[in-house]
Amino acid sequence: MKALVWHGTTDIRCESVPDPRIEQERDAIIKVTSCAICGSDLHLYDHFMPGMKSGDVMGHETMGEVVEVGPAARKSLKVGDRVVIPFTIICGECEQCRRGNFSVCETTNRNKDLADKAFGHTTAGLFGYTHLTGGYPGGQAEYLRVPFADTTHIKVPDGIPDEKLLFLSDIFPTGWQAAVQCDVQPTDTVAIWGCGPVGQMTIRSAVLLGAKQVIAIDRLPERLSMAKAGGAITINFEEESVVERLNELTGGKGPEKCIDAVGLEAHATGSVDAMYDRAKQAMMLETDRPHVLREMMYVCRPAGVLSIPGVYGGLLDKIPLGAVMNKGLTIRTGQTHVNRWTDDLLNRVLENQIDPSFVITHTEPLESGPEMYKTFRDKQDGCIKVVLKPGMNGGLHA
């Protein structure tokens, strides 16, 4: 089958790889109908995330049709079922899964020892990601083997386009969890850094959850235009001071809820700390660029909440924990507990409360995936979200 394969820094190739097959009793194989490139795929593309190996199949936003089911998965799946695959692989049985903390499933990371060493304790296995999270082949491919398939799936009805459902796999529940874990109140100002795909979903989630005002921060006019369409007040950080503007919009008190939808590759024009991070990262003395975290900690209202769906990978410098401690801020973060939210979110899609396909700017054949990584990373051609379709001819752009 064809798949997008990682070969090194900025080197993704569309290649032929062996078809997946049932390896464990709880496995299923799905024929991929749609998959997407996620912002966190770019951390692998740029090789900021450790633990990748040449030959790894990329992708963790995938949906399709079940074509083969292992004997132990037949109680909940059958051939022909239409499923979205969450990016977190979950057993459904361990203590964390039973508590709904699916992204820290204790069972599914087959490289548990590696994760124990890196993070202290293992987290869930993830599709198409670093070997720290199991090194499972991903879904930017024609077929995907789904381990623990009896629990690792979201069944979706026929008759609705893939585009409305695909993002249940990651960015929609990720944006939702980012807002939910802020415990949004009707009096709240929610400030969201980053208007990429997760940022856009977070904006919509905060609006649905009833925030008084939602403020979105980015530098790209096309992304800010989409944020504004979703109900956000926008700040272009290349044109105005984020801190001054946020204080101005909140009567000098700062936003109660701050959300980092950027993560480890923050781009901050001209700020001293951003130059510091760039220099240290180039010398391999720091793994991540935490400009957004610092700014959130500084500007957040005392007793506020910092929500961090943005991905971080390692060791960060100059974090103003003094501000966090003295202002009594609460930090909530983590990979998304996808299946905790998807029943509710699927209903919201079916009820037309939200249509997540608004974020798609490029639909391309799977074979164009490698080029689209570059287009997406460089934010060219107005690119915000790329959907890839195995077997598609030609491409569609916004």
Binding site: L208, L209, R223, N352, Q380
Partner: protein, 185 residues
């Protein structure tokens, strides 16, 4: 516009031919730099130069720094132009520093010709990367009609306010806004 991006890429690969050439030049830069740092006398002899070991060592450090920057940067183009500038300095140094014996003059001419060839490769790479970048520049897209709310923004505001936030994600009562905690909405 997107088709232009496509033409600059190798089929089925994320790296264009110029991206791959740039990475090759990055490795070449580092290898040459190490040679210049470790064996400057041998380099001088091979290029028919007078005793310019300290200068050659300095150039070696420059080559290594440029190579690391090329390999470590998302956008190698400015660093390839830095290589072009370095090439010109190299050619000037080699041409001016020639020993005045016939054997050295012959070696020197070969060295200048080699440097000129490398300069052409660097120029081709830098120009190619720049052209690809210029081609990718695009008019800003306007997504101001993409609310994502089929029933409109007004209907969406607070539509999920009845969602019950799980207990483990709720703000402790004492940290909640006074108006909310006291039930005075």
């Amino acid at each position: 516009m997107h088709d232009v991006v496509r033409r600059t890429a190798l089929p089925g690969r994320s790296q264009s031919s110029h991206d791959r050439l740039a990475r090759g030049l990055g490795y070449f830069s580092i290898a040459l730099g190490i040679a210049e740092l470790v064996a400057p006398r041998a380099i001088c002899r091979a290029a028919g130069l007078r005793d310019l070991e300290p200068v050659i060592r300095g150039y070696g450090a420059r080559e290594i720094a440029t190579g690391v920057a090329i390999l470590g940067s998302h956008d190698p183009e400015p660093w390839i132009w830095t290589r072009v500038a370095g090439d010109i300095a190299d050619i000037a140094t080699v041409a001016a520093g020639v020993r005045q014996d016939n054997e050295s003059k012959g070696r020197n001419a070969l060295a200048v010709a080699t440097l000129a060839a490398v300069t052409l490769v660097d120029l081709a790479c830098a120009s190619g990367l720049q052209a690809a970048k210029d081609n990718r520049k695009t008019a800003t897209m306007d997504y101001s009609v993409r609310s994502g709310f089929p029933r409109g923004l007004k209907a969406a505001r607070g539509a999920a306010r009845d969602f019950k936030v799980p207990d483990d994600m709720r703000t402790p009562e004492l940290l909640r806004p006074w108006a909310v905690a006291s039930g005075d909405r």
